[in-house]
């Protein structure tokens, strides 16, 4: 350990200590969760009941259940009562199959003021389980910055005041793997950390960084629990870091009922990736960055705050660039055994701006969202800017999706003259101005200037711009790409009614983890009727929720497909991979399940989350509204950029387009699309067993077995 790290360690003050008996994980569960209260330094063990496992499975399910019981209806995100819960799930931590190390983080969000969930790779959740805990539940607030250390090798947990370590992730993670791991790199890979950064302290969209260890680079790397601002809650609780240590990982650490079945399905899947990834998505070469060019070609890349779907400079941030910038040939899986290996890095990047200017760093990314959000959506097609912005967002702990969408909104407001340099503090905040954009990110890190205002998020910026600068609230509402208070992720829903539903009806806000239907809907035209769309918006969010109950990454489900997939009955569901997951769940838990059982697990948690939103004062139809920019052309320029397509649609509706002015056509199309959205919402609610106001019906709760008295009371009050 270096001298300066030893100094930091020596400055730690022990606030609380807890020792516990270690015993092996049984069929994916430890059957206890760890409770920590930072206001009074309580550390306690809570049992996991059979009912909790049956109804909530794990991961996000456990997080929601624990939060439900931990808070009151009136709890706010920054009350000590708010909790941060991290849990992997029964499958999390197996090694034989790709994408099996995810953690799910649950809390109340500073952006939405409601329940938020966020998923993340890295080693923390699985190591936490093998250390002895199905989940960690943190409540209260510390007086001064603390580190919580869970030593899974010895069975000891400490809360330590930690005054000297820097908060920014790229420095802190490196320090902690040395401080708690030592000098040997295999000892360092036994450590995983959760950290935030200075940006999380000064914005509402702080993220959390979860570490894993790269033995070839001999450096810690990070994945993000990005959405919803849980990093902001973390720093509000004065948590500097969570650290877990677990040294003896094996293929059966998860206590599976049948290791042989896990080995067979895993070996088959690794071979499938070996044989086909190169010809399919090329995840092992460039991760999700290949989507930039495709979205650009299909007019689906968000450009200039989701105004347009493509840009002539799109090729400057396309996959060929990333193939060359990412170092190739290293296993980049963020959990052991992930051969899909999507997390690529740019090595030896010299930072050109900010407090770390001149440092040579490893940059984790960019993936698609970063290139699309920080880049295209802001009109910046410079790969070096995107890499640098990606780095600083990671180390400052800022959600790159919220940063991209919020900055794009601010840029459009500036370009439209809704705000000016008085608001931006002198920054010439036009689309394409990379210098202004990176400065705004540094301001988020420092908590000052226009960056700090952007850091309030789109919903609050709309209010600020209207109240302080006289901007027209109707235009702001139309172009501000947020719903439920969360910024939209980086896909253009404008021409896909199904994706509008996918975003608008998602529980946490417009994140695409629930449904990504754009191609199925718009390009393939596989869900033409309202009923088809409603069925897709029932099935896919439910199916995809399942990954978050179990500790799984969804990429191996459909970002790689078996060669005969196109010939199956329902290729979009990837039936062979669904069978793999049935096999894995059965092999881990010893319960022989079917794919219907998996859907039932999810549907329970999905509906519970909807009721949780209701409990916090949201969760009804009005909160499922989306801004018109997500549905159609707001402005004349937007209409004219796709005039042929829009004119054709209006003609099909019986309009005489030759006789109409563009503003008249904009209005006619808008009326049509807004009414289509309402019809879709009706169809989806009916399919999900909810009322016309979006409230789960009591008989739905009964069918799912979550008709607990307090849950029923909330839906009855809301007319369910």
């Amino acid at each position: 350990m270096s001298h300066h790290i030893a100094e930091m360690k020596a400055a730690h003050r022990l606030l609380a200590e807890f020792t516990y008996e270690k015993y092996p994980v049984q069929r994916g569960y430890t059957n206890r969760t760890l409770y920590i209260n930072l206001s009074d330094n309580t550390i306690a063990s809570k049992p996991v009941s059979e009912e909790m496992k049956e109804k909530f499975t794990g991961g996000k399910g456990f997080g929601l259940w624990l939060l439900w019981h931990g808070i009151r209806d009136t709890t706010k995100w920054n009350d000590p009562e708010n909790e941060i819960i991290i849990s992997t799930g029964p499958i999390g931590g197996i090694t034989t199959y790709p994408g099996t190390g995810k953690s799910l983080v649950v809390s109340l969000s500073p952006l939405t003021d409601s329940v938020m969930d966020s998923n993340v790779g890295g080693y923390f959740g699985p190591y936490l389980k093998f250390a002895g805990w199905d989940a960690i539940e943190i409540q209260g607030k510390a007086e001064k910055d603390v580190i919580i250390f869970i030593d899974g090798d010895t069975g000891r947990i400490t809360i330590e005041e930690a005054p000297l370590e820097p908060v920014d992730t790229h420095l802190l993670t490196d320090i902690l793997v040395q401080m708690y791991g030592g000098d040997d790199h295999h000892a360092r890979r036994a450590i995983s950390t959760v950290t935030a950064g200075s940006g999380a302290q000064h914005t509402r969209f702080g993220c959390l960084n979860f570490s894993w260890y790269d033995l070839r680079r001999r450096a810690a790397r990070v994945k993000q629990a990005g959405r919803g601002g849980i990093g902001t809650v973390f720093r509000d609780k004065r948590i500097k870091a969570l650290v877990v240590k677990f040294s003896d990982l094996k293929a059966d650490s998860n206590g599976p009922a049948d290791l042989g079945r896990l080995q067979r399905v895993g070996a088959k899947m690794h071979k499938e990736i070996h044989d086909y990834d190169d010809q399919q998505c090329g995840m092992r070469r460039h991760g999700t960055s290949y989507l930039v060019g495709i979205m650009n070609d299909y007019d689906l890349l968000p450009v200039h705050n989701f105004r347009y779907g493509s840009h002539p400079d799109g090729h400057k941030i396309d996959v060929k660039v990333w193939d060359a910038r990412f170092t190739q040939g290293v296993p980049d899986g963020c959990w052991y055994g992930c051969t899909l290996s999507c997390s690529h890095a740019v090595d030896g990047f010299v930072l050109r701006t900010g407090p770390y200017k001149g440092q040579k760093v490893i940059v984790d990314g960019p993936e698609y969202e970063n290139a699309a959000g920080l880049g295209a959506n802001c009109g910046i097609f410079d790969p070096d800017y995107i890499i640098e912005a990606n780095f600083y967002c990671d180390t400052y702990a800022l959600d790159t999706i919220s940063v991209g969408t919020a900055m794009a909104f601010a840029m459009e407001c500036y370009e439209m003259g809704l705000i000016d340099k008085r608001a931006t503090g002198g920054l010439d905040f036009r689309f394409g101005n990379a210098e202004a954009a990176i400065e705004a990110i540094h301001q988020m890190g420092r908590g000052e200037g226009f960056g700090a205002i952007i850091g309030q998020g789109v919903r609050r910026m709309k209010k600020i711009f209207a109240e302080q600068y006289g901007a027209d609230p109707k235009i702001l509402q139309d172009i501000g790409m947020e719903a439920k208070g969360l910024e939209f992720s980086e896909y253009m829903p404008k021409e896909s009614l199904a994706q509008q539903g996918g975003y608008g009806l998602a529980s946490k806000g417009p994140q695409h983890d629930e449904a990504w239907l754009i191609f199925m809907d718009m390009v393939n035209n596989q869900i033409p009727t309202m009923e088809d769309k409603a069925e897709a918006l029932h099935y896919f969010p439910i199916w995809r929720t399942w990954f978050g109950l179990c500790g799984l990454c969804k990429l191996p489900w459909n970002d790689i497909v078996p060669p005969d997939n196109a010939l199956t009955d329902e290729p979009a569901k990837i039936p062979e991979h669904v069978r793999n997951y049935v096999e894995i769940f059965s092999a881990v838990t010893g319960r022989q399940v079917t794919s219907e059982d998996l859907l039932l697990m999810s549907e329970r948690v999905y509906n519970f989350q909807r009721v949780f939103n209701l409990r916090m004062g949201f969760g009804t139809r009005e909160h499922d509204k989306i801004p018109y920019r997500a549905q159609g052309p707001v402005t004349v320029e937007e209409y004219e950029s796709r005039a042929e397509r829009y004119d054709k649609q209006l003609k099909a509706l019986g309009y005489d387009v030759e006789k109409m002015s563009t503003p008249e056509k904009v209005a006619a199309l808008r009326a049509h699309r807004e009414s289509q959205y309402e019809k879709l919402v009706d169809a989806v609610y009916a399919r999900r067993g909810w009322t016309k106001n979006g409230v789960p019906k009591v008989e739905t709760l009964q069918r799912l077995g979550i008709d607990y008295p307090d849950v029923v009371e909330i839906v009855r009050r809301a007319g369910g």
Binding site: Q280, I294, Y298, F519, N524, N525, P571
Partner: protein, 76 residues
């Protein structure tokens, strides 16, 4: 005045929502180009028959054909 048969320009219907003008000798590859379908993970059927990737450059599309170009793309 009713149009007589053979005077309407021939079209190819793609994914039941796109009409593309047909031209003699049009191959699958020509059609993909015209639709600007640049994505590679696709399955193509012409009048219900699956066309193999190796045949895209040669398989001729008949006028009035119903073509499906299914993109298998998963998103982030």
């Amino acid at each position: 005045m009713s149009p007589s048969a053979g005077q309407e320009p021939a079209v190819v219907r793609v994914n039941d929502n796109l009409e593309v003008p047909w031209s003699p000798g049009m191959t699958v590859r020509d059609l993909l180009r015209q639709c600007r379908f640049t994505y590679s993970l696709i399955t193509v059927t012409v009048n219900g028959q699956v066309i193999r990737r190796e045949e895209y450059d040669t398989y001729p599309i008949p006028p009035g054909a119903e073509v499906r170009v299914i993109h298998l793309i998963a998103g982030g």
